[in-house]
Structures are given as structure tokens and as C-alpha cells.
């Protein structure tokens, strides 16, 4: 079958009102689901899954993909407006999005988030369509040793999001690594730091930790100083993202999109590390380096491009290999199986109409995302105008509901509040929360892949340098660490000079 025949077959499959309606509804549901704190994109997809049982396969899958894409963007809305990531992938958006909202630039930040998301979405979808086969075989060359070096390199992001003090960032990261060890040991299956409580056997719930760390400290601060915000106008302002902003951030957006495509095509990493990596790369290369973390629009653009770049690319291992890349694609693969479809190389031969139907649907989904996103921003941006004394309690209620609903477990709500106090203390002592989060996500991956590598080689460390991919990441890591140390030394020297001047 020629390319045009395949395209026509795909078009005949999706060229009906139900498919596009499903996609449209999916994106809308996703944006709203993602925008509700605690109800992550993962949960929105999981809740939509049962509705697809009775649908045509392609309609159901398009609905789920719509929810997924909408959810990843929707998560940025509360991240910017109320400092609560709606979905883990949008944690990096908080770093600059929330300071922008504080400055009365919520509309501009939201607009940039949407433009960056849609651009990244298009790049990601095109990569899926054009390079699926190539990227999939590349992804299969990632065994535990390659993963280990990639994650090790990713940990250097911590330096990029530590703010003023690398030491405080490292402290935060250590705390994250420590808490990530709770749960069952991967290799021996023994309990670690569970204190005999079955609730701890699964480790701390990620959403509960996330919400606790970011949203709850705001609420506690409000309780401490109920009137601290009075007088600080947080009006939305008239400003909207301008084309000049977009052009200025374009390089970061494209770079972020490709980071997303790259990390998305490798099973097992997910969108949050990609957003952080994209953000730290943007910061590293930006002229306004010191403005990052204080409301730099390029930071919002980079992190949103990083997480949406993953969305299309995670379908590469899913469709080309039949391997789910993260929790969300694991649910979507379930939808394929329910309809008796088996993703993998054969699907490109047996069900080529479905593959091309999906491709057409994905292209259209970017347009829908832009459309629905614009409407959603217009609606949600008024949240910034709601007085804090009303907004904050409402956020608290949503957080409790959301965290409970993730696993129907009240223990998670407790975890959220405890982490809230930890987060509050961290804010009081100027310890940044982002390194904690990165370490919490990457720590277990680092440990698991290291131990799997050691099992593979019979504890021979040489396996960690077994091929070009590992060499590549080792050298990247070394280069980055050297750069960080040099910057640190320079800062200390500079600091010594100024303090010396003060003494004289």
C-alpha cells in the first residue's frame, strides 16, 4: 500500500464527526482535569478509560489521547495561578510562572504556556510520524547502564534550579533522595523505612508529595499571616503574550521540544524530568540568567515545551514497540488491548488505517489544544483576581479531594500535610523545593538502574561504560559538573572581593 493509500485509509477511518468530537471532548476534559489541583493528567486518562470500552477503537483512543494532551497543558494553569502543579509535569512551570502571576502577568505567562505547548506538540507529533521507527530502535538500545548515565546527567539539573545557593539546593535534593527510598527494595523485596505500616510499602505517593511541597506551604503562610497579601495588587493586567516574546523564546521552545521528544521516546522517564531539563538548559544558555526563577517568560516557555514535547513522542515506543513509556501510556495501551489491537511493528502492516488515523488525529489535536487552551485561559485567568482569602481555602479543599482520589487512601492526605509542613519550613529557610522534587523523581530511577546494571554484569562496574551512549552521557556529566564548579569558584571569588571591599 502506498503512502497515499494509507493516508486515505486513515482519513476514511477518522473522517467522521464522532472521531473529531471525541478528540475535542478529550482535549477539553484534559485541560479541565489537568487544571484541577490534585487531579493529574494520569487520573483524567484513567477516569476516561472505562468510557472508551463501548466506542470504536479509533474513537476511544483519540479520546484518551485528547485527554492526555489537554491534561499536560492544563496542569500549567494552576501552576502559574496558584503555585500548585495540576500535573507533575508542570512542576517546572511554577518556577517562573508563579512569580509572573505575582507580578500581575498571569495572562502573559498563561499565553506563553499555551503557545509553547502547542509548538512543542506539533514538533512532537511530527517527530512521531517521521522518525518513529528510527527513534524506537534507538530507545531499545537503552538498557540499565545507559539509563543510569542519563539519569546521572539529569541530576545535574539540580544546580540549575537551586537558585542562589547551590548548598541549599543540594540539601533539598538529599532530602528528596532520602524520602524516595521509602517502600519495597527493588532487588530484595524487603521493606525500607516503612515502620511496619502497609501504607508505606508502596512508597510515598508522588502526587501527595508534590501538592504538599508546593500548594500547602502557601496555605500555611496564609494562616500565619492572614493579611500579608492585603495591599499587594495581583491584578491580571491587560498584558497578553506578544509575538516578540514568542520569538525571543523560540530557540528555547524548539530545544525544549526536542528534549521532550528524545526523553519521551525512551520508555520509563516521563514528562517531569524533561520539563526540568529543558528549563535548566534554557537558563544555562540565556542572557537573562539571573532573571530565571524571578518571573522570566522564557522559563515558562522552556518548561512547557519540555513537557508537551513528550506527549507525542511517548507514542513512539507505544506504537512501534508495544512498550508503554510511562503510567499514562500504560493506560492507553490497555485501551488498545481492550479492542483487541496489539501495538507493535505488525500494527504498521495489519492496522495501517488505525496508525494513519491516529496520526491525522494527533495533528488535529494540536489545533484543538490551541483553540480550547485559549478559551480555558480566558476563563481561568480570572482565578488570579479572586481574593486570596477565598481562593486559598478553596484550593485546600481541592487538594484534599484530589490527593485522596488518586488512590482512595486517606493516608495520602496525611502525607500531603506532613510534606506541607516540610515545604513550609523549606520556604522559611530559603531552601528551594525544585531540587527536592527532581531528586524524588530521579533517585529511584538512578538506584534501580544502577542495581540492575550490577546484576547484569555480576557487579563489574565496567558495564557502566559499555557503549557510545554511556560515554556520551558520562562526558556530558563531567562537562556540566566542571562548569558548575567553575561558576561556583568564580562566585566565591567575586563574593570574597565584595566582602573584602566592605571591610576596607
Amino acid at each position: 500500500m502506498s503512502f497515499l493509500d494509507s493516508l486515505a485509509a486513515g482519513l476514511s477511518l477518522v473522517g467522521n464527526i464522532e472521531s473529531f468530537l471525541a478528540l475535542f471532548i478529550g482535549v477539553a476534559v484534559g485541560v479541565i482535569g489537568g487544571a484541577i489541583p490534585g487531579m493529574s493528567a494520569t487520573m483524567a486518562v484513567a477516569l476516561t478509560l472505562p468510557f472508551t470500552f463501548a466506542m470504536q477503537p479509533i474513537t476511544g483512543i483519540l479520546l484518551l489521547l485528547g485527554v492526555y494532551k489537554g491534561g499536560i497543558f492544563g496542569g500549567s494553569i494552576p501552576a502559574i495561578l496558584i503555585k500548585t502543579p495540576g500535573t507533575p509535569a508542570s512542576s517546572a512551570t511554577i518556577l517562573d510562572g508563579y512569580p509572573m502571576a505575582e507580578k500581575g502577568e498571569a495572562g502573559r505567562a498563561l499565553g506563553m504556556a499555551l503557545w509553547a505547548s502547542c509548538t512543542a506538540d506539533v514538533i512532537s507529533n511530527l517527530s512521531l510520524i517521521l522518525f518513529a521507527g528510527w527513534l524506537a530502535s534507538f530507545a531499545l538500545s537503552f538498557g540499565p547502564p545507559e539509563f543510569f548515565t542519563l539519569i546521572l546527567f539529569s541530576l545535574t539539573i539540580i544546580a540549575g534550579v537551586s537558585g542562589d545557593s547551590l548548598l541549599r539546593g543540594a540539601l533539598s535534593a538529599l532530602l528528596g533522595l532520602l524520602l524516595a527510598t521509602i517502600g519495597l527494595d527493588l532487588v530484595y523485596g524487603t521493606n525500607r523505612f516503612t515502620f511496619g505500616d502497609p501504607n508505606m510499602m508502596g512508597g510515598l505517593n508522588f502526587i501527595a508529595v508534590l501538592i504538599g511541597l508546593f500548594a500547602i506551604p502557601e496555605i500555611l503562610a496564609m494562616v500565619w499571616h492572614p493579611t500579608a497579601h492585603v495591599g499587594k495588587a495581583r491584578s491580571l493586567g491587560k498584558n497578553w503574550v506578544s509575538f516578540a516574546d514568542y520569538r525571543r523564546s523560540f530557540k528555547s521552545i524548539v530545544r525544549g521540544s526536542f528534549i521532550g521528544v528524545f526523553l519521551g521516546s525512551i520508555p520509563g522517564i516521563g514528562a517531569a524530568p524533561s520539563a526540568f531539563l529543558s528549563y535548566s538548559e534554557a537558563r544555562r544558555t540565556s542572557k537573562n540568567k539571573e532573571n530565571f526563577g524571578k518571573g522570566e517568560i522564557e522559563g515558562v516557555a522552556a518548561s512547557e515545551a519540555g513537557n508537551n514535547g513528550v506527549a507525542g513522542a511517548t507514542l513512539i515506543p507505544l506504537l512501534a514497540l508495544g512498550v508503554p513509556g510511562d503510567v499514562i501510556t500504560a493506560i492507553i495501551i490497555g485501551a488498545f488491548m481492550i479492542h483487541g489491537l496489539q501495538p507493535g511493528p505488525m500494527m504498521f502492516i495489519l492496522n495501517v488505517d488505525i496508525i494513519y488515523g491516529l496520526f491525522i488525529g494527533l495533528i488535529v489535536s494540536s489545533a484543538f489544544l490551541f483553540l480550547i487552551g485559549s478559551v480555558a485561559i480566558r476563563g481561568f485567568k480570572y482565578v488570579a483576581d479572586i481574593p486570596k482569602r477565598i481562593l486559598i481555602p478553596a484550593v485546600l479543599v481541592l487538594c484534599i479531594y484530589g490527593v485522596f482520589a488518586v488512590n482512595n487512601n486517606i493516608f495520602d492526605v496525611g502525607v500531603m500535610f506532613v510534606m506541607g509542613w516540610v515545604g513550609y519550613l523549606m520556604v522559611r529557610y530559603h531552601i528551594p523545593a525544585a531540587p527536592f522534587l527532581i531528586a524524588f523523581i530521579l533517585g529511584p530511577l538512578l538506584e534501580d538502574n544502577f542495581r540492575q546494571s550490577m546484576l547484569m554484569s555480576g557487579s563489574d562496574p565496567l558495564i557502566l561504560v559499555r557503549g557510545p551512549i554511556t560515554w556520551f552521557f558520562w562526558s556530558l556529566t563531567v562537562l556540566t559538573v566542571v562548569a558548575i564548579i567553575r561558576a561556583g569558584v568564580r562566585a566565591v571569588k567575586g563574593g570574597a572581593l565584595t566582602s573584602g571591599n566592605l571591610e576596607n
Binding site: 484513567a46 472505562p50 508495544g322 512498550v323 488491548m337 507493535g344 511493528p345
Partner: protein, 324 residues
């Protein structure tokens, strides 16, 4: 989910306001799925939920409570009231492999009363085509050479035990020292590990790898059932003269807390008899490679007990029990 929970709470309070001793069930029943959305247990549970809900006559509120290889959700039901309004979709991993392998598990088989087992999943072993292995004999020969590894979805999972049990049956004296276990997080990752060469082989539910087998990404070596499995053109355990391996199958069942009253258990038996006759259910499940085999509450308890004892014996023999 919160909407469903809310409606459940509303219905619950309404139910309490009405006749307190009316016939079971007078309100929606909470069904706990101890594994994540889109997984084998989840799909199976949600497929049976449709005809089952019709048979019960009251809504079934499905909730995924995940974590610790199914232990978190199982504990939630273990500690629930024994009134039949909180039931569990129990699975081979959470209710026969885990109890057999883990000394620290906060529950045992005695903490549950099974009302049915309705689905059996054959177990298949497979390798990657690049390994050059095409039969169990090849695999065993490779094991004796050394350096063979196998992947699983985690320590104490069915996949972990299955690989060891199969090797042992095929005459490998010390499967724990002659091969290396490379645990992964989840079944998808376990299959990927064989695909990308991290591990040599895996033994898992046939439905989990039927896609890879159809796509020729994995080469199947055997299935553990007596009957052949569609899509798997390989010898069965019976063909290979290893009838002991018939015990090694996956299953899904429904259980309540230990003190579940007899009349409730009987009701579930009757409902399941109706639900599993549903045409749509049967065709969907068999399409995915499951064998629908309805067991009465008594049969289900005996079946699980037998499997548990087989696994426990093997675990004790090899010293695989996890104490820490």
C-alpha cells in the same frame, strides 16, 4: 472518581435511613482493584463489572487502590467491614505468590474469603529472537553454560516465581545461583528488558506478551497449561511431560474479608454464574487469551490453597522466602 464516591456516600446514607435489615445488597458495592488502570487485573475487573452489575442489581463502585504489588489494596479490604459491601479483585500475585514468598506481608490467605475465581491466564515463557534460543532444551543448556538472566515485574511477583519454578522443573538444580534475577518495575518493563537484551527470558501471563509474539519481537518457548494457547505455536507443559507446571497459571477472583457471611458468598456465586454467561464478556475475555472458568466459593478456596501450597513448598525448598 470523586463524583462516584460522593454518589456512593449519598446512596449509603439513604440505605442506612431505610430498612437496616433488608436483603443484601441494598446499596452500591465497593470493588477494590489492587492494581493500576489499564493493567490485566483492571481490564478484567472492568469487563466483568458490566454484566456483574446487571446481575447484582446495584451499582458496583470500582476503585483502583494501588501500591506494593497489590498489597495496599488488599489491606484496605482485609480491614474493611465484613458486610459484603467492600470486595476485592484478587489476583495470583497478591494472593498466592506474595503470601508464599513474603514473610512481612501484612495479610495472609486466612484473612480473605474467596467467593469466586473466574479467569485463568496461561503462563508462557519467551526469549528474544537474537538470543538464538528456540526451545526449552536450548534454554536449559544455556543455563548450564551460565550467564542466563530473567526479568520480572518485581520481587515476589508471579513472573519471579514462574521463571524459577519452570527452570527447577526442567532439571536446573539451583535456579537461584545458576541464573540471575533482574527485577523491573511492572510487567511492561519486564517484557522490555527481554526485548532490549537486558534479560535472557521471562515467564509471564500469555496475554501480556501475545502482542510481542504476534509481532515476532519475542520467541515463545512453552505454555504451562495442558491445552494449547491460541497464538502460541509452542509445546504445552503436558507435551513436555511436566504436568506439575499446570499449577503455574495466573488467575483473577473476587474475595471479601475473612468473616464474610455464607449467604453473601452464596449470592456472589449465583451472580457470577449469571455474569460469566454473558456473550460480550466471554468473547472479549477469550479474545485476550484468558480462559473463563467459573469456580464456586468452595472450589475457588481449594484452588488457591493448592496453588499457594505448591508455591510455598518451592519457596521453602529453595530458600526464597523474604524475611526482612
Amino acid at each position: 472518581m470523586s463524583m462516584k464516591t460522593m454518589s456512593a456516600v449519598c446512596a449509603l446514607s439513604l440505605g442506612l435511613a431505610g430498612a437496616a435489615f433488608a436483603e443484601y445488597p441494598e446499596r452500591p458495592i465497593n470493588m477494590v482493584i489492587p492494581y493500576g488502570a489499564g493493567g490485566a487485573t483492571d481490564i478484567s475487573a472492568r469487563t466483568i463489572a458490566e454484566p456483574l452489575g446487571a446481575a447484582v442489581g446495584k451499582p458496583l463502585v470500582m476503585a483502583n487502590v494501588t501500591g506494593a504489588g497489590g498489597a495496599t489494596g488488599s489491606v484496605a479490604v482485609q480491614n474493611a467491614k465484613e458486610d459484603g459491601y467492600t470486595m476485592l479483585f484478587a489476583r495470583v500475585g497478591s494472593h498466592s505468590v506474595n503470601p508464599a514468598m513474603k514473610a512481612t506481608l501484612p495479610y495472609g490467605l486466612d484473612d480473605f474469603r474467596f467467593v469466586t475465581v473466574y479467569e485463568i491466564n496461561p503462563v508462557a515463557c519467551a526469549v528474544s529472537p537474537s538470543s538464538g534460543i528456540t526451545s526449552m532444551d536450548d534454554l536449559v543448556a544455556k543455563v548450564n553454560e551460565g550467564g542466563v538472566t530473567y526479568s520480572s515485574s518485581g520481587v515476589g511477583s508471579l513472573l519471579h516465581l514462574a521463571a524459577v519454578m519452570v527452570l527447577k522443573e526442567f532439571g536446573v538444580e539451583e535456579p537461584l545461583t545458576q541464573t540471575t534475577h533482574i527485577p523491573q518495575k511492572g510487567g511492561g518493563a519486564a517484557a522490555t528488558a527481554v526485548l532490549n537484551g537486558t534479560a535472557t527470558f521471562l515467564c509471564t501471563n500469555s496475554s501480556a506478551i501475545s502482542g510481542f509474539v504476534a509481532n515476532k519481537q519475542l520467541v515463545p518457548l512453552m505454555v504451562t497449561t495442558a491445552e494449547p494457547v491460541a497464538g502460541f505455536d509452542v509445546p504445552t507443559a503436558a507435551d513436555l511431560g511436566k504436568p506439575a507446571l499446570h499449577q503455574l497459571v495466573g488467575w483473577t477472583g473476587i474475595a471479601g474479608p475473612d468473616g464474610l457471611p455464607d449467604d453473601v458468598a452464596d449470592k456472589w456465586g449465583a451472580w457470577m454464574a449469571t455474569a460469566t454467561k454473558d456473550e460480550g464478556f466471554l468473547s472479549k475475555m477469550t479474545e485476550r487469551g484468558s480462559v473463563i472458568e467459573l469456580m464456586s466459593p468452595e472450589d475457588a478456596n481449594a484452588f488457591i490453597e493448592r496453588q499457594y501450597n505448591t508455591f510455598r513448598k518451592l519457596v521453602d525448598e529453595l530458600g526464597m522466602r523474604i524475611e526482612g
